[in-house]
Subunit: 188 residues, 2 copies
Amino acid sequence: MAGHWLTFFFTSLLVSAMAEASHCSTKGLPLVRNISELPQDNYGRGGLSHVTVAGAFMHGMKEVEVWLQTFAPRSGTPIHRHSCEEVFVVLKGSGTLYLASGSHEKHPGKPQEFRIYSNSTFHIPVNDAHQVWNTNEHEDLQVLAVISRPPAKVFIYEDWFMPHTAARWKFPYYWDEHCFEAPPKDEL
Amino acid sequence: MAGHWLTFFFTSLLVSAMAEASHCSTKGLPLVRNISELPQDNYGRGGLSHVTVAGAFMHGMKEVEVWLQTFAPRSGTPIHRHSCEEVFVVLKGSGTLYLASGSHEKHPGKPQEFRIYSNSTFHIPVNDAHQVWNTNEHEDLQVLAVISRPPAKVFIYEDWFMPHTAARWKFPYYWDEHCFEAPPKDEL
C-alpha cells in the first residue's frame, strides 16, 4: 500500500516538474502563438489577469518583454518604480495613471493624475514611481505593457510617502517566480 | 515685389522648421497620447500606414520603441534583418511571416513560412532575415511591433538569395529620416 502511494507521489512530482519545465521554456513552443491560449493567472493579486506575451524567463527575451494585463474595476498595479523603460498601449477601458516625478526627493510624494483611455499610449520615465488603476466602475481596463531590461526588477511602495529607501525590492516578480532559477552560489 | 517673395520664403522656411521641430520633439507633447491622433504616413511605401507609438527620435526612448503598422492586402515589410530584438502582436487581419535562419550562411536562403493571425504573437530571432506580409486579399493586416536598441538600424535584402554582405544598410529608417540629426563631424 505504501509502495503505491510512493509511486503515485513520485509520479505526481515528475509530471508536475515536466509541466513546469515546459511552461518555463521555449522548447516545443510554436514560433507564432495565440495570445488567448497563453497561460494567464492573477498571481494572487485580486482583479488582475496577466499574460506574458514575450518574456525573459518564458521565451528567452533578453532586451524587451511584453505583457497583456487586464484589470477589473477597482484594481490595478501596486505603486512601484523600476530602472527600465516602460511603454503602455491601452487596448480597452479607461482608468488613471498616477505618476510621481519625485525620484530626487526622499519619497515619491503626491502623484500627478492622468486619464488613460482606449487607444491611448504613455511611457513611464525611468525610476519614476507610478501606478495604473482601473477607475472605471463598469469595464475592465486592458493594456499591453512593454518593458526593457527584462526580467522585471521592481521596487514596491505601500503609499506615496514611503521613503524610496524603504520600498521593497520584488525579484523575481510575481509571474517570474515559478520560472526563476537562482544562480548557483559562489562557493568561495 | 522681390522683398515680399523673400519674406514669404523665409517665413515658410521658419514655419516648416518649427512644425518639423515640434513633430520631432517631446516638448509640448502630452504624456498620454491618443494613438489615432499621432502622425501616420506611408513614407513612400505603398500599402503601409506607420505610426511611431513611442520612438527614440520622436519621444526620447532609449531602450524600446513601439510602432503601429497597417499593411493593405499584398503589402508588407521588405526582407530585412537587424541585430535587435523584435516582438509582434497582431491586432487585426492575417498574413504570413517569412523567416530565414541562415545568418551563418552566405545569404538568408529559402525562408520558412508561418501563418500569422489576429491575436497572435511572435518574435524574431536577432539577425534572422524576415518579412511580414499581408497575404489576405480582403483585409488589412495590423500589428504592433516592439524593437529594442532604438532607433531602428536595418539591413535590407532584395531577395532571399542576396548575400548578407550585399544587404543595404538603411539608417536612419524611413520614419526617422526627417527627425534624424547627424552628429557633428569629427574635425581631426
